[in-house]
Symmetry: none
Subunit: 412 residues, 2 copies
């Protein structure tokens, strides 16, 4: 079993507010291919400290992964220190410099000269393409140690690692293939899912199953170890099938698709269009639906009606209705859904109205109370939810997922 | 200035799901008394690794704080390894053993014999009382290094540290303190900010300055060390003032406030209301504005007009205008801003229309082209942006920040 060490570089990672989340994700990836993380280190933009840390790491670890410090500024020292310790001269890599220049040019900027630093490559190092940023990653082999330098931003680090580093490390780790699958569920608590799923997966160590909860969505992560992809897939098909059967309609995806992606498939399949009306979610529901590329094919419009006047003016919700039942009510949720459907001329209208807090809660309408309205050609309906109060962000996220799930259920 | 090192002990801290939050809290406490955390390490229940880590720590750090691994079980090795490396015999401390026994008895239990291990104390070590658990903490002075062993559970660690460790370290630190400040800028690249700011901060080690980029927002993190809060604040005021002067209108906050928080202050101050019309950002702009609690005071409505019909129906944008200039144009951006302002009856209307991709780009209107429209009682205007293409998420995020920043500029 190979042992790895993760080094996070950057003084900001030594402040009271910043957590090194990259190492968590990297640990999961490495464990999956049978590499154990034995040590995690956070060191600042401090040349002496980093140099010492790297020297020690080379003595004790077979895989060293450093994150951050590849930026263009003076305090980005990772590239420099690693090449110093490894005794490799830094050489300007023209193709990379050219790529960085083009990246700036594409935005109508001229590349500041200091960015040239990001095109410096240690002798014999392998370049790791960065699709989402200027800093390329670097991979070097020193004796029996694999050294990987990755950019700090997770959005740049993750695709780079999975596509260009993981396969290579997996080979070195010795051939066993790991295949993963994610089953997404909504409508049950984490323990609720576990109660149903545990009898199915409990005695199984391969595939392994872990349960993760995120803003109302409970995911089952399956990982199968096998000597071939086909074999791993067979194992996953079998377990996944039995879990889906046990969890029934709570399962919204079996291949890691998001709720908005599942809805997208159904809307395209049925050739439907959708519009949303939001109050407490403030536009984030529309934002989630339009996260999906090509969503303009079925998403026509959204209205964020925060003020009551806006509900009336933009959605045609009768002022009397709001006066009679309050803005947070089944009646208004349904009127909003029907209103946005009619105004936008879509097949489906969905609406969210609720109290995200921290203020605005009352005895009979507490913070966390949310109504989801749904309208199509034939019917208008609504559902009432009471989400754990005291967290504006979570209440908004729960509401979005609840609304997306309601649409999903109606479409299936 | 004393430098410290924090060592978190425990294999569970090396899993993909556990974050070492103790070190964040400890860093804040230590910074406040002028002790700088130079290194953070997470090591598992691995005797060889921990022993090596402790030996290295003693060479480089003046303060070593280890958390966790003081429990009663076999894999709680912190006490054992530190006493081994420091060459101090472990002796059974009767008073402590007695206290632990009583603690169990008080809850009607008999003390399991393995808990006696928690009463073992290295020669010459100072005991740190644990009001909330069985494991006492330990404090030892080795040459010029202060070694502190704390229990892992935050509710045990925190009171123990503040009441029994902090005062002692504060005396040793000789009263220096650290104050931090964050300056937010928009409109320049990371290297662009550095080119302007470096001449101001480069030669300065106190306050120290680091630059961080996030979705178009470039932050400067300042940290000042001084003998008093007042002095540190003066140093920060001075550097911050000169940086603000150099960076001019690009600076949107000097106390770490977000763009939406800054706008909130200005809207309240001017007693203005705002409405937004979005195309490519799909509701996320409204979502950002409504992230701020109490935003319902000034945010009245938002419209996500994805389809051209929606732009006409919901915002009153003339169909001919869209036909003549295209949905992604200065003319339509301005009409959207004015339209939503009129429909929602607000002081300000802001609009975003652009091409987030991956598809929909053309020769003269490429992916990444975004127009921001702004309307108030007196004027309607728009600005054109070209963001790095090929990343839908980033283009949307850049657009949101650009729109928020445009509103900020007009309000100031």
């Amino acid at each position: 079993m190979l042992n790895a060490e993760i080094i996070a570089v950057g003084s900001e990672m030594l402040t009271p507010t910043r957590v090194d989340t990259n190492s968590l994700w990297l640990t999961e990836q490495l464990n999956a291919i049978g590499i154990e993380v034995k040590l995690k280190i956070v060191v600042g933009d401090d040349e002496a400290r980093l140099e010492e840390t790297v020297r020690d790491a080379l003595k004790r670890s077979e895989v060293i992964i450093a994150t951050g410090g590849l930026g263009p500024t003076e305090d980005d020292i990772t590239r420099k220190i690693f090449s110093r310790v490894l005794g490799r001269r830094l050489q300007l890599h023209d193709a990379t410099l050219d790529r960085i220049r083009k990246r700036f040019a594409a935005r109508g900027y001229q590349m500041p000269e200091i960015n040239a630093r990001q095109a410096l490559v240690p002798e014999g190092a392998q370049l790791l393409e960065n699709e989402r940023g200027t800093a390329p990653g670097l991979l070097m082999t020193e004796k029996n140690c694999t050294v990987v330098l990755l950019p700090g931003p997770p959005r740049e680090l993750k695709p780079m690692f999975t596509s260009q580093v993981l396969p290579l490390l997996a080979r070195r780790a010795g051939g066993t293939i790991i295949r993963r699958r994610r089953i997404g569920t909504f409508g049950l608590t984490e323990s609720g899912v576990d109660e149903i799923a545990a009898p199915v997966y409990a005695r199984l160590t391969n595939p392994s199953t872990t349960i993760l909860a995120d803003r109302g969505i409970i995911e089952l992560h399956l990982a199968a170890r096998a000597s071939s992809e086909a074999e791993a897939e067979r194992m996953l098909d079998d377990l996944s099938g039995r879990l889906e059967e046990a969890l029934g309609h709570h399962v919204f995806s079996t291949r890691g698709e998001t709720l908005e992606e599942v809805i997208a498939e159904w809307l395209r399949f049925r050739n439907y269009t959708i519009a949303v009306a939001e109050s407490c979610t403030g536009g984030l529901l529309a934002g989630r639906i339009t996260d999906v590329p090509g969503s303009s094919d079925y998403f026509l419009a959204g209205v964020v009606a925060y003020a009551n006047e806006a509900k009336t003016e933009l959605l045609g919700v009768p002022a009397e209705l709001i006066a009679a039942h309050g803005a947070v009510s089944a009646e208004v949720a349904e009127a909003m859904a029907e209103g946005v459907r009619r105004r936008a001329g879509t097949t489906i209208g969905v609406a969210v109205t609720g109290i995200a807090g921290p203020d605005g809660g009352t005895e009979e309408k507490p913070v966390g109370l949310v109504y989801i309205g749904f309208a199509n050609e034939v019917a208008v309906e609504s559902r009432r939810f009471l989400f754990p109060s005291g967290d504006r962000y979570l209440i908004r996220q729960f509401s979005i997922n609840a609304a997306l799930n309601m649409v999903r259920r109606r479409l299936q």
